[in-house]
């Protein structure tokens, strides 16, 4: 199987072509112009991860929501599951940057942390 990607490691945006084996393992990467492109293609095809950012409802704050992010990138496929948990959460003010809002979200081993003060 073949997958076409655009590398995002730098502004060049090389078009990558990835040859995948039956088990989804990467057989070859072409189109990259540097080693970072190969690594990007391998990561994207085997374990794509993303930083997730959103907001969480706040009680008793000056603002109704506080911005949050994942403490590390999470598997791409879990983004919408994590959003459900984030949208059901309500926290009380005051909140400081770096406060853990949700621990180990969706068993990813990653926390949701506040990125602003309320």
């Amino acid at each position: 199987m073949k997958r076409e990607l655009v590398c995002v490691s730098c502004p060049l945006g090389c078009p990558l072509s990835v040859e995948l084996g039956e088990n989804g393992d990467v057989l070859s990467v072409t189109g990259n112009t540097c080693p970072r492109g190969k690594k990007y293609a391998e990561d994207e095809c085997t374990n794509p991860v993303r930083m997730l950012t959103s907001t969480v409802k706040v009680n008793g704050g000056k603002l109704p929501v506080v911005p949050v992010k994942t403490s590390a990138p999470i598997p791409k496929g879990k983004m919408f599951d994590c959003m459900k948990v984030i949208n059901n959460e309500v926290v009380d003010a005051p909140i400081k940057i770096g406060d853990v809002i949700i621990c180990n979200i969706c068993d990813t081993g990653v926390d949701i942390i506040a990125t602003n003060e309320v």
């Binding site: 945006g13 950012t53 959103s54 409802k57 109704p64 929501v65 983004m79 940057i97 990125t115 602003n116």
Partner: protein, 420 residues
């Protein structure tokens, strides 16, 4: 009248970095005037990550990036007035501002740094026919609604313009449960970062329609849909390609305009291409003692570069204040820096012959170029030449010019151009 060495107009990333740098360079009395309730500027609503990779070597969210500077400002005795609107700059560098506690304020400052940022190009600038139905807004307005005020402005969305804010909002609205039908881009390429196209559109299966625009909006009270059409190479809609798309919200991400009303009122000369002031290597404008930096000077892609530019302005203002020679840029001869073939604009536009260090020239290209060369010349002499695999209008470029080369220039202009 209040008396300060330096008045900084705008408390976003540009204003804070400029004020902090001026303080580091020994300027004693500094005030930052900010129109919003808090310092931080637009970063406060940019909750996505990707800020600070160059400057801090970390991937921060907007509020986190801002907070690093807010904390530093709070540690100093730099005065800050929030909720304060600057309304004029009078001769003699007097800043007139107003707020609810002080009423009308007059601040006499030896130097002024303009750091007012930019605003989004509004619907009115596009002339899209249709009534003033609710549900049509800029992407940044929607960003504020969702990220600061905590409510969703719509359920079924079309985005016009593939600038980074539009792409970021396509992802944000989708994550919050809205259906983003498509992003339409007038140009044959996107103005946004590749990374954002991949992670904000491709990841979520949102189509990007290039050479396509919105030609009509439907609905009286609330937006009910838009008519889109493909455009030809002259960006004119092609008859017969019209298509109705049902939506309740149209987000516009169609460019940013530096907010230079004060600059114009102060009689400062504006570059017609950047829509920002014409400046020298320390970002001093045509008015002695008045400096400009950040998005009010030229629209940046990355806040990291805003910080760097603002530090240059902060240092320049400090030098100006310390020398007190109000004619620094006037008395010395100036070398003009000019954009040619393939280069849309340059910043700074002038370099003083008496400058004291290497100068970096920032610019944008007019089109996408592949395997082209950036060439900088003065007369017959080539000051810089470098081959680039790719150049795009959406990516700001910079070239370093050495002090020893600047010293050798006699009367000629410095020309920056692209050679295919």
């Amino acid at each position: 009248m209040l008396k300060y060495d330096l008045a900084v107009i705008g408390g976003g990333p540009a204003g804070m970095a400029a004020a902090l740098k001026a303080r580091e360079c020994g300027v004693a009395k500094i005030i930052i005037l900010e129109r919003a309730e808090t310092l931080g500027g637009i970063l406060e609503q940019c909750i996505h990550t990707g800020f600070g990779l160059h400057y801090f070597g970390e991937e921060l969210s907007g509020p986190e990036y801002a907070h690093r500077f807010i904390e530093q400002v709070e540690k100093t005795d730099i005065d800050v007035k929030v909720d304060t609107m600057v309304i004029d700059i009078l001769p003699g560098n007097v800043v007139v501002a107003t707020n609810n506690t002080d009423g009308l304020l007059e601040i006499n400052a030896t130097a002024i740094i303009l750091a007012m940022g930019c605003r989004e190009r509004p619907r009115g600038a596009l002339d899209i026919p249709g009534s003033r139905a609710s549900g049509i807004m800029t992407a940044g307005t929607a960003q504020k609604y969702v990220n600061i005020d905590g409510y969703m402005p719509g359920k079924k969305i079309v985005i016009l313009g593939s600038g980074d804010i539009g792409l970021i909002m396509a992802r944000r609205m989708t994550l919050e449960g809205a259906k983003v039908e498509m992003v339409c881009e007038l140009m044959p390429y996107s103005g946004g970062l590749t990374r954002n196209i991949v992670q904000c559109l491709d990841d979520l299966g949102i189509p990007l329609k290039l050479s396509c625009t919105v030609i009509k909006t439907h609905g009286i009270e609330r937006l009910e849909g838009v008519t889109i059409a493909n455009v030809d190479e002259h960006r004119k809609p092609i008859p017969g390609t019209e298509q109705f798309v049902e939506c309740d919200t149209l987000l516009l991400s169609v460019g940013l305009i530096p907010e230079n009303e004060l600059t114009r009122m102060a009689g400062i000369i504006i570059d017609p291409v950047t829509n920002g002031a014409i400046v020298d290597e320390y970002r001093q404008t045509s008015r002695p003692g008045v400096f400009a930096c950040g998005n009010v000077l030229q629209v940046h892609d990355l806040v990291d570069y805003v910080t760097q530019e603002s530090q240059i302005a902060g240092e320049g203002a400090a030098k100006y204040i310390q020398s007190k020679s109000k004619s620094r840029s006037r008395s010395g001869k100036c070398i003009h820096v000019k954009a040619q073939n393939g280069v849309r604009y340059v910043v700074p536009q002038n370099i003083n012959c008496t400058t004291d260090g290497d100068v970096k020239i920032y610019f944008r290209v007019t089109d996408i170029f592949k395997n082209a060369k950036i060439v900088v010349t003065a007369g017959d002499k080539v000051l810089y030449s470098k081959k680039k695999k790719k150049l795009a209008p959406g990516e700001m470029e910079s070239v370093p010019i050495k002090l020893e080369d600047i010293k050798k220039i006699d009367k000629q202009d410095i020309i920056v151009r692209v050679e295919a």
